[in-house]
Symmetry: C2
Subunit: 481 residues, 2 copies
Amino acid sequence: MKEKKYTKEERDALRSKLADKQVVVKEKKLPVIVMLEGFGAAGKGSAISSTIRFMDPRFFKVYNMDKITEEEERRPFLYRYAVKMPAQGQFTFFDGGYIDEIVKRSQNKKQMKQRIESMNNFERSMTDNGYLIVKIYLHVDKKTQKNRLKELLEHKNTAWRVTKEDLEQNENFEYYEEAYGKVREQTNTKCCPWHVLESAHLSDVEGEIISIITNAIDARIAADEKNGKDRPLQQNPYTLLPATKLSKVSLQDKTIADDAYQEELKSLQKKLGKLHNKLYRKRIPLIVAYEGWDAAGKGGNIKRVASALDARGYEVLPIASPSPEEKARHFLYRFYTRLPKSGHIAIFDRTWYGRVMVERLEGFCSENDWQRAFHEMNEFEHDLTADGAIVVKFWVHIDKDTQLARFNDRQNTPEKQWKITEEDWRNREKWDQYEVAIDEMIAKTNTDFAPWTILESNDKHYARIKALKTIIAAIEKRLEA
Amino acid sequence: MKEKKYTKEERDALRSKLADKQVVVKEKKLPVIVMLEGFGAAGKGSAISSTIRFMDPRFFKVYNMDKITEEEERRPFLYRYAVKMPAQGQFTFFDGGYIDEIVKRSQNKKQMKQRIESMNNFERSMTDNGYLIVKIYLHVDKKTQKNRLKELLEHKNTAWRVTKEDLEQNENFEYYEEAYGKVREQTNTKCCPWHVLESAHLSDVEGEIISIITNAIDARIAADEKNGKDRPLQQNPYTLLPATKLSKVSLQDKTIADDAYQEELKSLQKKLGKLHNKLYRKRIPLIVAYEGWDAAGKGGNIKRVASALDARGYEVLPIASPSPEEKARHFLYRFYTRLPKSGHIAIFDRTWYGRVMVERLEGFCSENDWQRAFHEMNEFEHDLTADGAIVVKFWVHIDKDTQLARFNDRQNTPEKQWKITEEDWRNREKWDQYEVAIDEMIAKTNTDFAPWTILESNDKHYARIKALKTIIAAIEKRLEA
């Protein structure tokens, strides 16, 4: 903690500097997250107001993170932070953050630990994907907090700002001081360290905060220019299950007779419908991720799963190319925004794995980007399951000849022509490159918490029955746990 | 109510027909909304499940509208319907809808009437903008409802579906029967009539519902092909205030001396900050809409307003061109999704008025589209204010010479070059056409509930002071009301 005092003129000069920095940040397409944490009445709100005073309000947003909404409660821990990430060239300020949430709302030590790990991974992944995260902790001592709360309570215009939680915090000051300190220590990472400021004299703190932000921006831009944007790959800490190469998957013998199909389909759909009911009552979310060759039968497969479900409790999410808003953010952003509520089911028709397939092969991201993505996606899925979700991943598989036959059929049948495009033919030419990418993808992301299942789909009926059985087994396993 | 009985085969045939219709709907880019209304246990849920059984789940969504979330409660009445509108070629099914909401959640008769009017206007505007809305009411008699609720309660797997509200509804059956009937009557419009079905025999009703939907789709496509997509313009029912033509606005005399500016700015910002506090406590939302010539000083003006506000309670929303998701929906969709929560402030940097300026002049929509838009935007703003919001609209005005001087300054100052684009120069060439469009816009949308204020901005300081004063006056007026 520096002891520097700031005059009004110095603070105004700093504010102007930050406003100028906004233009640089826009030019460099740097997205910046500033998190202000601290006890009630530590001065977070006024510090943010002071910081942004000269900034162009079109390019930043401020979120008060104190209260968690119903909708947020029904999503994973990281959701409410992830969906608020800024686009390139923009700022997001969080007034309050996860320390408070982790300390007050974790159900047990295990969950606490899990959330700290999630947040550390998330911040590292965000940084690796081009974000700058600046974390500032405003420290206040017990007496100062008490006096400030008292002062706020004395005036009609400010009394409503003081919550019961604030008062309780001051009463049990020592307990919270220690608990917050521990979380701060454990989230004090190399990429995103905490800056701790003593908030006894707010006007000095305000100057300090702006300095920290502008210095962090300068340092980051300089480092990127010097070292480039590639980041080290992470070691995989998760248990990976053995994976079969696509060329070793036998397809011809995976068939089912017509009457057996009709009978099994009916009984499995009935069973899945009942399990959906249980998931809903137990508030367990289910995520089903579909990937597969063009014309492998994804659509029909999804339809058979979906029609077994209560229509009010699931959503099928077709993933097309990202919108400009999505492209300007972390590649997982558009999946965070689509996560199901607890008790609901989300079926993704194509997924985040596009990063290591189409984006890899078409050069839509750098080599370092897609190489890091295996790890980033494992972390993403680990968080989902650690927060209680079931994750089922399908690769819908056919051989090259079957694809050709189906493409020709689509081309020659007027009602099916909308299903086939030039792009499908172009992708087909890259079959071998895709096969290498898919083998690597399955091998590196076949975790025990979110394993891949290959659906042999030369016989579409066979693949549908297998999909239903796999989902049912995953739900039953979870309900027994 | 027809007496037709449906066999299982007939229903399957109808389901297949609806699935085929999905392809047509996709081709014709027709967005379809199906609303199923009725008492608890009328069979809405199973009717929807039956209807969608053969449909491709990538192109429809089902929403249960029974429960209103916290987030929705803090938005205007239409919000939760509007944000769920389907894209072109897609279906949205509402399980439950506004009749229930209007009967049970209106605070008084006036609000009830207002909401009915809002919904009728909204449905007409949606239809005019290419949507097909099919409204089906499932009627159930008191005894049947009672028996079904009893049956549901007897089984563990279904008992949780019966709510207190359902039981209360059965107890006061006659009251609700009459109230729902009245709302139904008053929303039984030409564009979107109610189809009332007797739901004693669910399997027959299911066949009937699918018939109604496919017939409505056929009829709509046939009508569009025969009559085209132009719709009659509506008469304006709102009070319009007199409007000044831009050419009559005097700019040169609207100046303020430097020291007076600094002093006024400070005191007005302080005042606005305090009023924001009051709005927050009274849960009144404020919408400030900025339009103006390029380089008129919108950005700097917004900045002076924003920096007076509590950063956690406002958002500045820069409106760029719509994303593909937004383009495929009603033109107001992207503004519905950005409406502020109660007590919050949304400052729009460019607005829905793009419809009658850039979209009109660049031919991004049809002539009929932008001509209808004056009325549609008046209705939109009327709903916002009727639901309690304050709406302030600014036209930031400069003359042509001032624009040229500022363009040249931007071009010649390295730090400002990002602010000027080729497009700005192209727009400048169309100044006269824009002036005609803007005069018409202001004249036709200068309603007493959401009037325009012209900010004379040759002297940017003058315009900022006037903006602050206008917003303050609007808030004070509302707080006194």
